[in-house]
């Protein structure tokens, strides 16, 4: 059996307009107060896993998410898409955490607890903290090789072949399993759950593990960061609106103003 783990994160919908985005007492307001989604790149990682499941025999896809406030209708989407199992590692310590240390520790412990994991697929970065470091740090902690920004992933025997996205091209790399691979949006649009998948997902309940279930003591983990403050950015400049007699006049005045300010 080829056991794939896909790590996913529930995030605040990145299309949320600034006006609807709330920071309360130095914390980002959590769901259900803000609408949440599965991080977009993570959906692509699920898609990469499901493509492997379609092309190879005997593939098992386990999705793992670390968080504090899961919205079940959101986080169960990977099951509806076709994943076999969902594990939620839930602890209030995992809320809105800029310090990835806890998440990394939890994922490493969960992967070790599962045992016999061949390949971890993850989104290249999350839309909230935009760190892009949890999958790579998990690979380092497990002592596994890693490859980033995949647009395609294939597996032959004990080797993964990855087409990586470069700014103006691509690179083919090979790495031995077990390994960690991060997936980019160039992989293609993740599938929509079909009716059969949605009905099937209703019957599957996620496995919920606490921190102690995976043998980690949250209080004993040395944090890397202390979050001193979180705020909506204060605007350093006022927008100078260029007004003309009509739209064309405004366009001309904009050109003159940019020239005057030596911007063009």
């Amino acid at each position: 059996m080829l056991h794939l783990v896909v790590t996913v994160k529930q995030v605040i919908d990145p299309e949320t307009p600034l006006s609807a985005f709330r920071v309360d007492n130095g914390r980002v307001a959590s769901p259900p107060n803000q609408s949440s989604v599965i991080n977009g790149f993570d959906e692509q990682a699920i898609e990469a896993a499901l493509r492997l499941k379609e092309t190879l025999n005997d593939v098992h896809v386990t999705v793992i998410s670390v968080g504090a406030n899961f919205a079940l209708d959101v986080i169960k989407k990977p099951l509806a898409m076709g994943a076999d199992a969902l594990i939620l590692i839930q602890d209030s310590a995992f809320e809105n955490n800029i310090d990835p240390t806890l998440t990394i520790t939890a994922l490493v412990a969960a992967i070790r607890k599962l045992g016999s994991v061949d390949l971890v697929l993850a989104g290249r970065q999350a839309s909230d903290w935009d760190n892009g470091q949890v999958p790579l740090a998990v690979a380092e902690s497990l002592g596994w090789p890693s490859a980033t920004v995949a647009k395609s992933v294939t597996v032959e025997g004990h080797t993964a072949r990855v087409q990586r996205v470069l700014p103006d091209g691509h690179e083919l790399v090979e790495l031995d399993l077990p390994a960690v691979i991060t997936v980019s949006n160039e992989l293609g649009t993740p599938r929509y759950p079909n009716m059969r998948g949605i009905m099937g997902a209703r019957r599957v309940q996620p496995v919920v593990w606490s921190a102690s279930d995976i043998g980690i003591d949250v209080a004993a983990i040395q944090p890397a960061f202390d979050l001193i403050g979180l705020a909506k950015p204060t605007k350093s400049m006022e927008t100078e609106f260029i007004v003309g007699d009509d739209d064309a006049d405004a366009g001309r005045k904009l050109a003159l103003r940019l020239r005057e300010s030596q911007i063009v």
């Binding site: 990145p14 949320t16 307009p17 600034l18 985005f21 920071v23 980002v28 977009g40 790149f41 800029i98 990835p100 240390t101 990394i104 839309s127 909230d128 903290w129 935009d130 760190n131 892009g132 470091q133 740090a137 380092e140 902690s141 980033t148 072949r161 470069l166 700014p167 103006d168 091209g169 690179e171 083919l172 790399v173 090979e174 040395q222 944090p223 890397a224 960061f225 202390d226 001193i228 403050g229 979180l230 705020a231 927008t239 100078e240 609106f241 260029i242 739209d247 064309a248 006049d249 405004a250 366009g251 001309r252 904009l254 050109a255 003159l256 103003r257 940019l258 020239r259 911007i263 063009v264």
Partner: protein, 329 residues
């Protein structure tokens, strides 16, 4: 005891990358809090040539040099290995890198090997009264800004580009060059590069462009982008797009600026028919000047713009281009 600051340098065509020179300038600002300590930079490559002297002229007190054939093409596995070895030998209090394509793959791994995490994409770095590295970083696509204190020794941070100006070159500056030996012969490279294909980009690359003209859903069609091409050509810039315009198939996804596309840092970013969702702003908010052209006065793009025109782009843009032609020709 940790001591001093180590910049993880990068080279482009044989000279220190601009981001590395910016990090050296940032290092010199931070080291003022630690009298008698020094700013060092690691330059690791197949061959470093004259780069150490250039680094010294731009603020390096010490240049650690690692030259090894295994570093050709900068495979991340080898780069992480030499950076880890350098940090373990130098024992700096702060490790500072830059935010680049390479460092995206290497700095998180370096931080993990050092038993800590990376303060990613910092827009300001300072030192507090207790001597801790304090980092400011945009999050939630720029919707919020976090200030964090780094608690580990060493602290590891990546500085966003164009935040700090490089120091002017001073060839009279004194500095030391120290060679480090690292064994890269045994099993360091585990992710094997089989084939690398890079096209010559057509025109100016978005990542390098000084001027970017971007179009969004408001443009309404593929054809409308020809106006943006004209404007970009006139200003010597490149054309970008929002996700909505790429998803609609008006332009290829390689044009996309934003969280799921490219992060750009031009001097001038002209957003036409782009509402300015955080998804998009995450990719362009570091532009020096943003100009918004949108018919909706309440569009989010105006919250981030230095200059704005509320109007129909189909009328505003041709007049704007014509006037620019007169001014620039």
């Amino acid at each position: 005891m940790t001591n001093g600051i180590l910049i993880i340098g990068e080279l482009t065509s044989g000279t220190p990358a601009t981001g590395t020179l910016e990090a050296l300038a940032a290092g010199q600002q931070l080291i003022a809090s630690f009298p008698d300590e020094q700013v060092a930079v690691l330059l690791a490559s197949e061959s470093v040539g004259e780069a150490p002297l250039i680094a010294i002229a731009h603020g390096a007190d010490i240049v650690y040099v690692i030259e090894d054939k295994a570093l050709a093409g900068t495979p991340p596995d080898a780069v992480v290995a030499v950076a880890q070895a350098a940090v373990e030998q130098v024992k700096p209090r702060f490790v500072i890198g830059t935010k680049t394509l390479l460092s995206r793959d290497t700095l998180p791994r370096l931080a993990a090997r050092l038993g800590t995490a990376l303060a990613q994409d910092c827009t300001a770095l300072s030192v507090d009264a207790q001597g801790r590295l304090i980092a400011v970083r945009p999050t939630y696509g720029g919707n919020a800004e976090a200030t964090i204190a780094c608690l580990s020794e060493p602290a590891v941070a990546a500085l966003r580009s164009k935040i700090v100006e490089p120091l002017p070159s001073d060839s009279a500056r004194a500095g030391k060059v120290i060679r480090l030996d690292v064994d890269l012969t045994t099993n360091v490279i585990r992710t094997r590069s089989i084939e690398r294909v890079e096209r010559e980009p057509e025109g100016v690359r978005l990542e390098d462009a000084k001027v970017i003209v971007s179009g969004g859903r408001g443009l309404g069609s593929r054809e409308a982008f020809s106006h943006l091409d004209d404007l970009a050509k006139l200003l010597g810039g490149a054309v970008g797009a929002s996700r909505a315009a790429c998803d609609a198939g008006w332009v290829p996804s390689s044009y996309q600026v934003g969280l799921t596309g490219k992060t750009v840092t031009p001097d001038l970013y002209i957003a036409v028919g782009i509402s300015g969702a955080s998804q998009h702003m995450a990719g362009c908010s570091a532009a020096r000047t943003i100009v918004g052209i949108n018919k909706d006065a309440g569009a989010n793009i105006f919250k981030e713009s230095s200059f704005g025109v509320v109007g129909d782009w189909e009328t505003v843009l041709p007049a704007f281009i014509e006037q620019l032609h007169e001014l620039l020709d």
